[in-house]
């Protein structure tokens, strides 16, 4: 069965790119435009990985990560966040919130694929 990924970003073009890249590689992608929508989708579905931006309206990425980690069903599920190169303090913060890994923006499609394979396999 295909692995499912929850992709969270308030930028529609970003979501589209992620969906395109990952679904052609055989992953199933569900989108959410902000943390609130993501949390709702996470609770009503099952995902192998969550990929989220940090800077979003309605519920930002850090809060989303914290909320996901309070759910028993999300312990052990990798959560990857998007960050810019200058954000070393963000990385520490996100890790403290429970994130597993990160990818630096801007990234190319093959970088995204490589990361996802590294985190959850094919």
């Amino acid at each position: 069965m295909a692995k499912t990924i929850l992709a969270v970003d308030d930028s529609a073009s970003m979501r589209q790119m992620v969906k395109l890249t990952l679904s052609t590689a055989g992953y199933q992608v569900v989108e959410a435009a902000d943390g609130r929508e993501a949390l709702a989708k996470a609770k009503s579905g099952v995902f192998n990985m969550v990929l989220t931006d940090l800077n979003m309206p309605n519920m930002d990425g850090l809060t989303l990560i914290r909320e996901l980690r309070t759910l028993a069903s999300y312990r052990g599920i990798p959560i990857v966040f998007l960050t810019t190169e200058s954000g070393t303090d963000k990385k520490a913060e996100a890790k403290a919130a429970g994130a597993t890994a990160w990818i630096v923006k801007p990234f190319q499609q093959d970088q995204l694929l490589g990361l996802v394979r590294k985190i959850i396999g094919a």
Binding site: S13, M14, S44, D89, A92, K95, T100
Partner: protein, 663 residues
């Protein structure tokens, strides 16, 4: 896949963002200290830079990068939003637009000129956007001993050591050995902890840095040694220098309430000019909330109607409307948010008066007074909190002499605290008095036939009994408490606010009451489900996860409804039984696991339809006695769905179980 060219989607998105940027800049010019337009401007630049680079608009991205840095500094307070700066930003915005829409016609001289002015203003030379590093592969093969131990909680954080090992194997030839000396005996083994370490002998032509890169995400918490083998090996443990410093204190933008942007509200210690506020009659705000609520519903209907459409323009406009109505909703809710301090503050006087009346020395402390709640909720919390505090003072806290005899300080303490937890607010009232008397509560409950004699109850379940009407273990009704509003009214008020109330207590150690409250009364995040032919909404905060009902459980007769979720037994309840549904059940039923208090219960439904956010409509007076539902909501197709009252449904299921057990 719609087949839309991602570049075109980006251009459209960028056009919107640039429009947002322009209005934010103009607004900022008029209100240079306003936080919100500054954040909007930053976010627009940030997104354009990030997405631009991804979709091949390199020139736009690297140009925007400089603006983004400047605005980031403005956010941090390092730069002021002067008129000159705004002027540069507006010129930059125009240039960015050209770089996106028609890069060939862009005049680099104009761009450079803008950047030069920017550098002048921000007092720093523009640093060119960092390039991606290239890695060279060395041809020489070397053998390394790689030894690593992950942090014990690595598994819980989603790290999969097997994938790490696969990655290492992919670099060359590896012999792997597991280090099991840290694995504890079975009784002490926690399967969620990582007890195993690994050691590999890896022969690879990749440089050492590539091996280190495998651990890039876990390097801070991992004990890692990489030593060359059969070469001059350096003695001792080589530890990767920690790249990140201690986390910087979280900026106010990220922490704080999730729902409202709360920009207009002051932080603790930051002075806010009082001159810029106006008084508004509360009813007008309510009207505004109603209208906004209607807008949210109307948008949901629109979204449903165009769900099958392939018209990108309509979809894009609908998304825009969603963004606008969500924004409007957040702003409106933000207007109604008031710090809890306005509530807590009243109690100082109350505690002072009561402690004098009762002859007890009591200190009231608080934390989190700046936490914000909907104004209406604050009003309605007053009475329940007064009652709880009175109880603490009257029954909970012992007189000084008794305290000293018990080894406590003579002064009793009551602590009020409030904090945000995700989409809720948690409020606690804690005293360090004598705590709840379990035996008396149990005796009273059996006497009132609330529980069968000898029933096994956890502390949490036992304490919930104090919320039953007529239940009072107070030996004497004093003038202070024990009459009038009782704990059952407190519970009903909290239920009416769609809140939860939990009690914990230690004998001699005091009692802590925790209220869980939604951020607003008006809007609910829910999970939409179908039971039979009816659709219902389960409040999302209570939902933990959704699972399938295993077929064999289905076949078993309904004597003991339990499910095994990752080793824990979770009782479940069939909603079709609670709702007397005659319609035959779906072949594959689902269970929504919810948490109520410290209990987890599964609710069996026919279908989980998805998440749903909408306005809550209160129940009519004619339905006031219908126990299972706390309100209703209007779905995207215009029909009505009822919102489940979690506490009631779980309690009803509880009673059924107790009765069954007693038989």
């Amino acid at each position: 896949m719609t087949g839309a060219d991602p570049g075109q989607v980006f251009r459209e998105e960028a056009a919107e963002l640039l429009a947002d940027l322009e209005s934010a800049l103009l607004h900022l010019e008029q209100n240079p200290t306003d936080r919100e337009p500054l954040d909007t401007a930053f976010r627009a630049l940030h997104t354009i830079k990030g997405s631009g680079s991804m979709f091949g608009f390199e020139a736009a991205a690297s140009f925007t990068h400089h603006l983004e840095s400047a605005f980031d500094r403005m956010r941090k307070g390092e730069l002021a939003a002067t008129t000159a700066m705004i002027g540069i930003a507006l010129a930059a915005k125009d240039h960015i637009r050209i770089l996106i829409d028609d890069p060939a016609s862009a005049d680099t001289a104009v761009g450079d000129g803008i950047l030069a002015r920017l550098a002048d203003q921000s007092g720093s030379a523009a640093v060119s956007a960092p390039l991606h590093g290239e890695r060279d592969d060395e041809e020489s093969r070397a053998t390394w001993r790689v030894r690593f131990r992950l942090a014990p909680d690595a598994l819980e954080r989603g790290t999969n050591p097997l994938l790490l090992l696969d990655e290492l194997r992919g670099l060359g030839e590896a012999e792997i050995v597991a280090l099991t000396d840290d694995v504890p005996p079975l009784e002490e083994l926690d399967p969620t902890r990582c007890h195993i370490g690994w050691e590999l002998i890896l022969t690879t032509s990749h440089p050492r840095s590539t091996i280190e890169d495998v651990f890039i995400f876990v390097i801070d918490e991992t004990e890692l040694t990489i030593e060359p083998v059969s070469a001059t090996s350096e003695p001792g443990v080589e530890q990767e220098p920690v790249p990140a410093e201690m986390p910087v204190p979280v900026p106010a933008m990220v922490a704080g309430p999730a729902a409202p942007k709360a920009e207009p509200v002051p932080e603790k210690g930051r002075a806010q000019p009082a001159a810029n506020s106006i008084r508004v009659p509360a009813e007008r705000l309510d009207d505004l909330m109603d209208q906004v609520g209607e807008l949210v519903i109307a948008h949901a209907r629109l979204k449903q109607l165009i769900a099958d459409s392939v018209d990108l323009q309509i979809k894009s406009v609908t998304e825009e409307i969603e963004r606008l109505s969500n924004g409007l909703r957040d702003i409106t809710m933000g207007i109604r948010m008031v710090p809890v301090d306005s509530l807590f503050g009243r109690f100082r006087r109350l505690v002072r008066d009561l402690s004098q009346e009762l002859g007890k020395d009591v200190l009231l402390t608080m934390s989190g007074e700046e936490t914000e709640l909907d104004k209406t909720m604050i009003e309605r919390l007053n009475d329940p909190l007064v009652h709880i505090i009175r109880n603490s003072l009257d029954h909970g806290l012992e007189p000084a002499a008794e305290r000293v005899a018990a080894g406590k300080a003579p002064q009793g303490r009551i602590h009020l605290s409030a904090r945000h937890a995700g989409t809720r607010v948690l409020m606690t009232i804690r005293d360090d008095g004598r705590g709840l008397d379990r035996e008396r509560i149990r005796a009273k409950a059996e006497e009132q036939e609330l529980i069968p004699p000898g029933a096994k109850l956890s502390d949490a379940e036992l304490f919930q009994l104090i919320f039953h009407p007529g239940f009072s273990t107070a030996r004497a009704l004093t003038s202070v408490s024990g009459r009038g509003i009782g704990m059952d009214v407190v519970k009903r008020t909290i239920d009416g606010l769609r809140g939860t109330i939990e009690v914990s207590s230690l004998p001699g150690g005091g009692t802590e009451i925790t209220l869980g409250l939604p951020l607003t009364l008006a809007i609910i995040d829910g999970l939409l489900v179908r039971v039979g032919q009816g659709r219902y909404v389960i409040p999302l905060f209570a939902v933990e996860e959704c699972v399938e009902l295993p077929a064999d459980v289905e076949r078993r007769h309904a004597n003991r409804n339990f499910l095994n979720i990752r080793g824990a037994l979770v009782p479940f309840l069939r909603l079709r039984d609670s709702f007397a549904v005659r319609h035959p059940p779906d072949p594959y039923q689902k269970i929504v696991i919810i948490s109520s208090g410290d209990k987890r219960v599964g609710l069996v439904v026919d279908q989980v339809l998805g998440d749903h956010q909408t306005v809550i409509k209160s129940m009519s007076k004619l339905h006031a006695d219908v126990a299972n539902f706390s309100g209703a909501t209007i779905l995207g197709d215009g029909s009505v769905a009822l919102i489940l009252d979690i506490a009631q449904i779980v309690a009803a299921g509880q009673t059924q179980e107790l009765r069954r057990e007693a038989c």
